[in-house]
Structure formats: C-alpha cells, structure tokens
Symmetry: C2
Subunit: 396 residues, 2 copies
C-alpha cells in the first residue's frame, strides 16, 4: 500500500513545471511557497524564519535549505542536490547566499519566474527581494504556474484524499458518539481525534506518514461552533459546555501523505425544534443546489450563483456569510473558489469543498461541508458521512 | 482572574502605534499581519484567502474584514468600527473595496505605512498591492513599527506566558509519565495533551480562552524526534514506536489568551549509555553558556557567539544545526533571534527560547528549550521543568 505520492510522480511534476516555465521563456523557476515545494519535491517541512527555495532549471533541480534541514531534505526531497546555508539571520543573509547559488548556476542575468518576490517569511523574517540581491536578473511572477498544475488532482492525489475521508469519517463518528449535554466541546473533540488517530496509525501501519506539520492523523471537533456561537462561521474554541438544544457545527479531517479532505456537519442536540428543522432543511437544499450545478465545463461562478439564487428565493440573504466552497488538497483552502467572482472552468480532477452555510446571529449556524471531485460526467462525493437531521441528532 | 490582555492595554497599544506612525510622518498605518492585528486589537482569527486589514489613523481605528467575520470581529476587536466586504474573490476584489474605504477616510493621496505591500495571502489568494489600487498613495514599509513594540512584553503578557508554562509543565509531566518502550509516540503525545488540556480548561474555568487558531489548550509530544530521528531538528511525526535506548526530544506548550511558552526536553529511554551521558551533559553545558550570557545591555549576537565558542571548544561544530533561540509570545518564533547575525540589544521584557542543540546524524539529537524573560538584572526562567538526565530518564 502506497500512502504518499511516488518519487516518479514528483519527478514528472517537476519536469512538467520546467517545460511550462521554458514555454514562458523563463531560464529558471525559483519557488518559495512550502506547498508548491512539497507538491513538486515531496519535502514537507515546518516553515520558519529560515528561507527554503526550490530552483528548477534545465537538468537537475536544486533545493536551498538552512543547515537545520539539510539531512531532512536530503532524505525526503526528490531532488539530486540540496545546498545548505548556515542560518537566518546569521552574518550573511540567506538571500545573499541564494544569489550566490543562482550566480554559480549561470543565472545572474537570467529571466526567473517566481511565486513571490522573495521569501514571504513570517516568524520574524525580513529580507531583500530577489531583484535586490541579483540586480541584473529579471523576475516574473509565476505563482500561477504550479498553482495551475495543483488544481487538477492526479489519480494518486485523489486516492490520498479518499483515504483521508475514511479516517475523517471515523473521527466524526466518534465525535458524534461522545457528544452529549454537559461535556466540554474540547473533551469530545480531543477524545475522538485521539482514538481515531490511534486506530488510523495501527490500521495503516508504517506506510502511513502524515507529511504535514499541523496535523498528525485524524481529527474532529467543533472549533467553538457550539450553541449560539455556531452562528460565527470561523469561531475559535472556547471550551464551551454542550447543552440541550445546541446546534453544533463540526469539522473533521485526516492528513494522509500531505493531503486531506474536509468533512463538516451540522448536528442538533435534542430537543430539536421546528426552527432547527427549517434551517437545517434549507441548508441541505442549498448544498443540493450547489452539487447539482457541479459538472465539467461549467464555471465555478455558476455554482455559487445557483446557491445565491437559492438564498434569494428563500429569503436567506440576511443569513449569508461566505461563498459555496474552495479547492483543497495539500492546502486546507486552495484556488479556485466556488465563488461568483471565479470564472475558472471546472475540469475532471478538481477537488472542492461544497459548504454553503446559513448563519442566524444569536441563534445558530447551519453548514455541511463535503469534499467532491469533478469527474468526466459530473462529480463524485469523497466524503460520505450521513447528511440528514435524523442521523445528526444527539440525544438530549 | 484575567487570562487575556485587557481592552485598555489594547487601546494603549494602538495609541502608541499611532504616535510612532505620526512621528514617522505617516498619515495612516494599514496592517495585514494576523499577529500584528491580534496584538493591537485582540481579534484572533483564522487567516484565509480573505484579506483582513487594520487601519490606524488619528482618532478611531477601523477593522476591514470579510462578511464572514463581521459579527466575530465586532464582538472581539477593541475597535469602534468594523467595515465588512462581501467575499473573496467575489465580483469586486476586496483590495478595491479597501481602497474605497481608505479613499472615504481621506487617505487617497496619503503617506501610508504598512507591514506589507498588500495582503500576503496564502490559501489561494491573489491580488494587487496597495499602490496598484491607490496609485496616488505613498506606501512605506512599516512592518518593524509594531514588531518593535511586540519585542518588549508587558507585565500582562509575561503573566500569560507564565501561565502557559504551568500547563506546558503539566502536559510534559504526563508525556513523560506515559512514555515507555512499545508505545507509539503519537499515542502518548495525544493522551498527555488531551488530559492536560481538560485539566487546564477545568482549573481555569470560563475565563480561559486560547484565542488561537492552531492550539486550544496544552500540548506535549515528540513531533518525530524519536530514536535516530531525534537528530533531525525539525522532524515530522511518523507514529514511531518508542524503543529502549531511544533518545527523545519533546516539545510542550499551552496557549493562554493568544500567548504561549516553549518547553523542550531531551529524554533517554533506558538503558542510558555513556554516549548519551556525554552529549546530554555537553548540551546542558551549551544551554548554561547561553543563559550566562543573557542580560540587558548585551546583544543577542553575544549569546549565540558564546554558544558557538563553546561548540568550537568541545569539537561540536559538526553537530551544530541552528542558532541559540528566538523571541516568542504571540508567534511561536518572533524577532529578535539569539543569532550571531542579530545585534539587537537585549532589554528587560524581551522573552526568548534558549535552545542550543547537538545533533549526531544516525544516532541522536540533544536539545532542551526553556523560555526566559530578560529582567533588569539578568533573566528569569519562565519554564521550570527539570533539566537533569536523572529526572529525564524513562524506565526501559
């Protein structure tokens, strides 16, 4: 069983990226984004103040890393050459050392495509742009080059997301089983995530590698969307106690070889009131509307327009808070978006969350999120947790 | 008991930031960094493809958020005015709408300081820079303005980090108690984190709010640094089974009101060999060397230089992988760095991790990390977990 992308597929991706770069008249591609570097080389790492860059040229790609990551990158990245610099900030700024590497590669006057103007940083990083350290270089924006490739998932990528859905389902099933009035949202979330991850690690065995910094297995929880706070789409955990009559909006996932799905459900703790039924059913209707609009050849915008029309028709616009969904895979959100402003044409292999939500301030929020893949004839659901209210009612 | 920064302190921070901006001749400060926005306003949020910006001007600050976050920001941010835009990408790009807001505020030809040239994005975001949407505006880099303020922690901030250390200690104690040969690293990590978080939530009660996206309580684990993999400073979890003779490098923390400490320990699963003792003792010596060099008025570089000299003297440079430490607080890594290249002068209130490490490829890694605060006379340890090998030996 293979639970990560093969070295052959990584080599193929780098080859394709290089071909695309050449077609644009670029002499090299210098990439700083951790997700693009992982997509191309298979090297998953913790982004810090220390720049990491992948240099794609004719022939062998070069990975530029801090000394801290040299052995790690050499073992994990599907590249022949890893060049390490001492540290950030150190006495010589890493960007100056990157410039030296590019100079030695004959790129001092090259036309370079990059996903940024320099290392984006965070964690206290500051530094010059590429053009500031190589003044004769021409840097063109090429963030979209690999991003376009990432939009269409390969069969191996879809299999990893499908595997993720299995364990997200388990974590969610345990979350639901343990949820009852009186418990802390954090308690059931951590217990479900803990148990699901252990089962996952044991069921998959040593072939299983999360290849992710933020997640090391399966997880499920409410992230603060409990009771009236469920109306805050991006609430944060507050260790709230679950009470009878609460609406809960869950989120579950699992990371497999660096890929993950998104599974979210609205659940109601009994007693279920008429108002719960009404908004729950409207939310399911909105999700059905979105799903019906998904097929290759249509635009992402059309899906969101169909959902907006549904909201208008049912007088729900006061409760509208966000677009219908987003692509995902390596990133928890990726482009394109199921959004009225995104005219990207859907193609087989694109993977999206489908999650229109209804949020009534002071009362509750209602949102299911499923992960689907666009197929030749329409779409396939990758998440398969029950979506009906009866299945999602918690005994009060 | 107050477990988060007070509204008064947030208002004071915004006032100071504005005063500093004015002294630089700026008409406004437009900030995009989630940590700077949290530092100033107290609004903790999940960064996504949707830009969020704080506009500081004479008078009332304005927070610019997506519709998704309007109620959340209104409830949490210490600002009088929240302006919401519909969505990203939507039919009008949020940066165009931000430009409209700035125009309405009379800033269309202003001199604006910013922590970026636009929204840094990630998660599939693309968009224009500030100068592209407001061509007559002059944008000056002012990332350092708030970053400088963040370097000196207030008494309230230090108290939150101190509180974090208590629960990191508990999580670590449980981690050590549960660790034994045969268990999965992930199992003991999740069990310790789960139990410590539950105790923490119950002990602190409703006053406790993590105010963080990534963490909702206390945590402790090995993140892949188990056995020979402990020699990889930034290894990722692989669900390895712990074996007799393994060296383990732990990491523990807890998030309290958005702040956290860093606590890391080297542990050895019996039988302890002479080689373990030797490197463990050298690592403790390196950390002592660093601590002895910390006092106000000295530079960060001096601390790292003292550690490098210690490495040289003991023939350890082949096993050197990273600088001595970094500031932390809201961010897990912040500037300044205990690094030969960082000449920042240490001042009372600065909080650093102190964590020189020794990494022997194929054998093991040795690193303790403690969080200290610089005081008037030297430093105070905020983490207080035992540091000696006897206390850190696991029965085989």
């Amino acid at each position: 069983m293979r639970l990560q992308i093969s070295p052959e597929e990584h080599r193929g991706r780098m080859h394709r990226a290089w071909e695309k770069a050449r077609q644009r008249g670029l002499d090299a591609l210098v990439l700083f984004s951790p997700s693009q570097i992982f997509y191309l080389t298979g090297f998953a790492f913790i982004p810090t103040e220390r720049p990491i860059a992948l240099i794609l040229v004719e022939g062998s790609p070069v990975l530029f890393v801090p000394r801290l990551e040299e052995e790690h990158a050499s073992a994990e990245a599907v590249v022949d050459r890893v060049v390490a610099y001492p540290e950030y900030p150190s006495e010589e700024h890493p960007m100056l050392l990157l410039a030296n590497v590019l100079r030695e590669m004959g790129l001092a006057r090259a036309c370079i495509g990059s996903d940024g103007e320099g290392y984006p940083g965070g964690m206290g990083y500051t530094g010059p742009r590429l053009v500031e350290v190589l003044p004769e270089v021409k840097v063109l924006s090429a963030r979209d080059l690999v991003e376009e490739m990432m939009k269409i998932k390969s069969p191996a990528e879809i299999e990893l997301i499908r595997e993720s859905a299995r364990w997200a389902h388990l974590a969610h099933a345990l979350l639901q089983e343990y949820t009852r009035p009186g418990v802390l949202e954090s308690e059931v979330a951590m217990r479900a995530s803990f148990e699901a991850t252990l089962v996952m690690a044991r069921a998959l065995g040593p072939a299983y590698r999360p290849l992710s910094w933020g997640s090391s297995g399966a997880s499920a929880g409410y992230r603060g969307q409990v009771g009236a706070q469920s109306a805050i789409p991006h609430a944060l955990t507050t260790h709230a106690r679950i009470r009878p009559g609460d609406v809960l909006v869950s989120e579950a996932s699992a990371t497999v070889g660096g890929y993950s799905c998104e599974l979210e459900r609205t659940m109601v703790v009994a007693p279920v009131r008429e108002e719960h039924r009404r908004y729950f059913s409207l939310m399911v209707g909105a999700q059905e509307t979105a799903l019906e609009a998904i097929r290759p050849g249509r635009s992402c915008a059309e899906v969101d327009r169909a959902v907006r029309a549904y909201f208008e028709k049912h007088g729900l616009m006061p409760y509208w808070r966000h677009h219908t969904g987003h692509a995902l895979g390596i990133g928890v959100h990726e482009a394109p978006f199921l959004d009225i402003g995104d005219e990207t044409i859907m193609e087989p292999g694109m993977v999206f969350s489908v999650e229109p939500g209804i949020y009534i301030p002071g009362f509750a929020g209602f949102r299911h999120s499923d992960t689907i893949v666009v197929t030749e004839s329409g779409f396939e659901m990758l998440t398969y947790y029950p979506r009906d209210l009866e299945s999602l009612t918690i005994a009060g």
